[in-house]
Amino acid sequence: GCGARASDDTAGAGSSAAASCVDTSGDTIKLGFLNSLTGGMAISEKTVSNVLHMAADEINTSGGILGKKIQYVQEDGATDWPTFAEKTEKLLTQDCVGAIFGGWTSSSRKAVKPVVEKLNGLFFYPVQYEGLEASPNIYYTGATTNQQIIPAMDFLASKGVKTLFLAGSDYVFPRTANAIIKLYAAKLGIKIVGEEYVPLDKDDWTSQVAKIVAAKPDFIFNTINGSSNVGFIKAYYDAGLTPAKTPIISVSIAEEEAPAMGHAVTGNYASWNYFQSLKTDTNPKFIQSWKAYPNSSGVTSDPMEAAYISLYLYKELVEAAGSFDVNAVNAAAKSKTITFDAPEGKVSLNGTNHHISKPGHIGQINANNQFDIVWASDKFIEPDPYLEGYDWFPADIRKQLAGAAG
């Protein structure tokens, strides 16, 4: 027989009736870890995956979540977005995990989103992204645009930058980020003198860098992801560009990437919330644990820190709710103040949009491939994924986006 039709009243409810199958009777709780361990994005995602394991081990040694040890189910997203969707469904319906952690690219998140929404599961996403999203079933522990992109633009404005060149990978995060950058740049009076995209899986940036040389911008805003960054940096130095004359500000080059460029990148900038060089109470222990962890890369970075936060945030949420039930967790997020003493400082959760507050930082790369912090926001920046507090962001876009999301 046939199921519900669009016209049926029950349509919306349709399936969410499917009761959660999470088993909380024993002394363990199953969690799903989902990252690309094969394919192109494995390059970036393996670290996130590793640090999740570390956080799970830590939580288990200190007593677990609500007294239950974490038993994780690792899945490979294989750099393939439908696979992310398939594995999400598997984790939620076959393995019956309490929540899923992982992902990196915004594309993978967008593949997971409808599945967790349909099955009323939980997904913790740890990477800075383009914002304009808030799902009741996703918790975002990386930066949204007003915590990374906008601070970077403010920093550029404060340095008196007049012309900017946008270089990015050709996918949703850089495209959206640059769309926002262009809006804000207009407001700040910064002129965008060029915008170039190269596919994620292509490293050769020589033609595009030639255009940058010709455009002579004051600064380059880099939203390139993955190994393509190496190609960009190499072409940049090959062409005789230097941080002294044409500095780069990146949102995807961190402590792990900086030494892998094959060229010293000293003097260039990056905008992140967390840096290994941050002086907070919790950071030394985080760094130390990570360095001691098997297969560790030896340096800490923002995405891994956000992944680290995500598991602890879940622990705080569940313990505040006193239950692993998704609705209970979401309710606790709304009604209680959930905080976590993260390596970047004490972050607090916004129960409505499921993002966390974060400090804004701009670092300049030094000779040790560490970042000297040259700018910091005066306080933690509250997350504002739809940029509601920014009048330069067109209200009609916001409205349409919200409409499309609803």
Binding site: Y197, P199, D204, A210, S227, K234, A260, G262, S297
Partner: protein, 294 residues
């Protein structure tokens, strides 16, 4: 016009890298008929070799020149291993080699991902490649010039080897008719191994050049393999001359399209260009017809 010169120079360098990647294929694919989808991973091996050599010889000024022959041998040996274990059983089913080597490439990629730091390793450019050469008012990166010189040297060496030694003849004979070659007194096993060694070794050399341009990581080979095959096909399979021209043309086209359109669209347009070209000249730039049926 002003815009054209930089694109021409830049495109020539891109073409040179493509040529380096395609050169080995023009042997293993063009001459032996083996569709080696792991060729990109042999290129990757060359790049990782460059990294390892730099770990031993810290001075990058010296290490790159040393890495070139070492990478040739390392990638060549891997190619030899592949030939001895797998390819040798497949000469009568060329299209199947494509599938088998896809399997090999998957294995090599994953192994590289697990053996080396996942985000890749740095390979540093020698200091004598720092800087630019001023050509017609355009600052031309020395690194690009290096790629071109390297490609030229490899092409010259390869064509001399094919033309002035009896190996070239024997390779072609073996490809054409293995049984007949055997009964003419040619040890086809030796020829196969040698050819595969050299073809794969050339991928290693290309890998060193590629490591100076992009990232050295498990994924790097994948971005060269299809364009390299297209270049070989467009040039006329087994036609060195054609391969050179096709590589250069594709490089310049990529560079020009990237200038006039976008980086992504340039990739698409360059592909379409080659596809249309192949449609017009189905056997590539240079062809020799035989009378054989079938």
């Amino acid at each position: 016009m002003d815009a054209l010169i930089p694109q021409l120079l830049n495109g020539s360098a891109q073409g040179a890298l493509l040529l380096l990647a395609a050169l080995g294929l023009s042997l293993t694919f063009g001459q032996m008929g083996v569709i080696n989808m792991a060729h990109g991973e042999f290129l990757m091996l060359g790049a990782f070799t460059a990294y390892l050599v730099q770990q031993v010889i810290a001075a990058s000024d010296l290490s790159i020149p040393v890495a070139l022959p070492v990478a040739f041998v390392v990638a060549g040996l891997f190619g030899l291993l592949l030939e001895v274990t797998i390819i040798r059983w497949m000469y009568r089913r060329p299209l199947d080699t494509l599938l088998v080597t896809v399997g090999v490439s998957l294995i090599l990629q994953q192994a590289a991902l697990q053996i080396f730091p996942s985000q890749g390793v740095p390979v540093e450019k020698p200091s004598w490649l720092d800087g630019q050469l001023n050509i017609l008012g355009y600052e031309w990166p020395l690194r690009q010039l290096f790629t071109i010189v390297l490609a030229a040297v490899c092409v010259a060496a390869l064509s001399a080897w094919l033309k002035y030694t009896s190996f070239g003849r024997r390779i072609r004979a073996t490809v054409h008719n293995r049984d007949l070659a055997e009964t003419t007194g040619i040890s086809t096993r030796t020829i196969d191994r040698l050819t595969f060694f050299v073809g794969s070794g050339l991928a290693g050399v290309a890998g060193v050049a590629a490591s100076l341009i992009g990232g050295t990581n498990s994924q790097m080979g994948a971005q060269y393999i299809i364009p390299a095959f297209l270049v070989v096909a467009a040039g006329g399979i087994g036609q060195l001359k054609g391969t050179i021209i096709a590589a250069w043309a594709v490089g310049v086209a990529l560079s020009c399209f990237a200038y006039w359109t976008t980086g992504s669209l340039a990739q698409v347009l360059a592909f379409i260009l080659v596809i249309v070209f192949l449609q017009l000249r189905p056997q590539g730039l240079f062809t020799v017809r035989t009378r054989s049926l079938a």
